[in-house]
């Protein structure tokens, strides 16, 4: 990953900007959400590969800063929501697309289905991923 940052630095003009935009692991909440309310039904479990990726990315950026390739100017966190229309669609997606990143325990699925059964008519299911965005300036 440090090699990639070295390459980014090479192709950036003097005073160029690097935006690092990525999701962070961290037991994302699963919610039943309607216009009226959002209720947490449980949390996803982080998988080891996701945790390792976060750590490796953070280390690479720290190394790039130490070498004075980039200067961190600004950083913020925000939620990025995935929405589904039913528990079965959500389960299929998570099991197929997120198998390396996150799992949901059986008791959480049971809770999701129980809450879904009595949810508002306009309710949907959502997972709120924690995102990080950082602005780095190329050091000349």
């Amino acid at each position: 990953m440090v090699h990639a940052l070295s390459e980014v630095r090479r192709v950036l003009a003097p005073d160029g900007i690097l935006i690092d935009l990525r999701p962070l692991t961290g037991s994302w909440p699963v919610e039943v959400a309607s216009r009226r309310e959002a209720k947490e039904a449980g949390r996803v479990n982080d998988m080891p590969i996701g945790l390792e990726d976060d750590q490796a990315a953070n280390q690479s950026m720290a190394q790039a800063a130490e070498q004075k390739w980039f200067l961190r100017e600004r950083e913020e966190f925000f939620p990025f929501f995935y929405y589904w229309d039913s528990p079965s669609e959500m389960q299929q997606y998570i099991e197929e697309e997120w198998e390396d990143w996150a799992t949901v325990n059986d008791d959480v699925w049971k809770n999701i289905r129980a809450m879904w059964a009595v949810a508002d008519a306009d309710a949907r299911l959502r997972v709120g991923i924690r995102m990080m965005i950082t602005r780095w300036k190329k050091q000349n």
């Binding site: 192709v11 003009a13 003097p14």
Partner: protein, 96 residues
Amino acid sequence: MTLQRDPERTETKYLLKFADFTGRRVLEIGCGDGRLTWQYAKSTRFVAGIDLEAGELRVATIDRPSDSPVAFARADSIHLPFSKETFDLAILAWSF
């Protein structure tokens, strides 16, 4: 399946808050199907979107408007196929 990703467009709002794209030469690493690219591309001078996933790039290319200043290519971030100092702005988009 009726999946919706970020219908609130929070990601775009933060991206536009963190970077001024007007007239910029932009490299997006990990552009995928161009989901994020189309949110900012219009005001740029040009965008080069790279990704390793050929299938995603096919979708991005199909979706590209004919007058768009965007080009997509299959490339690896550790061997960027560009000359030095080509871009004003680079985005690592979910790609670490």
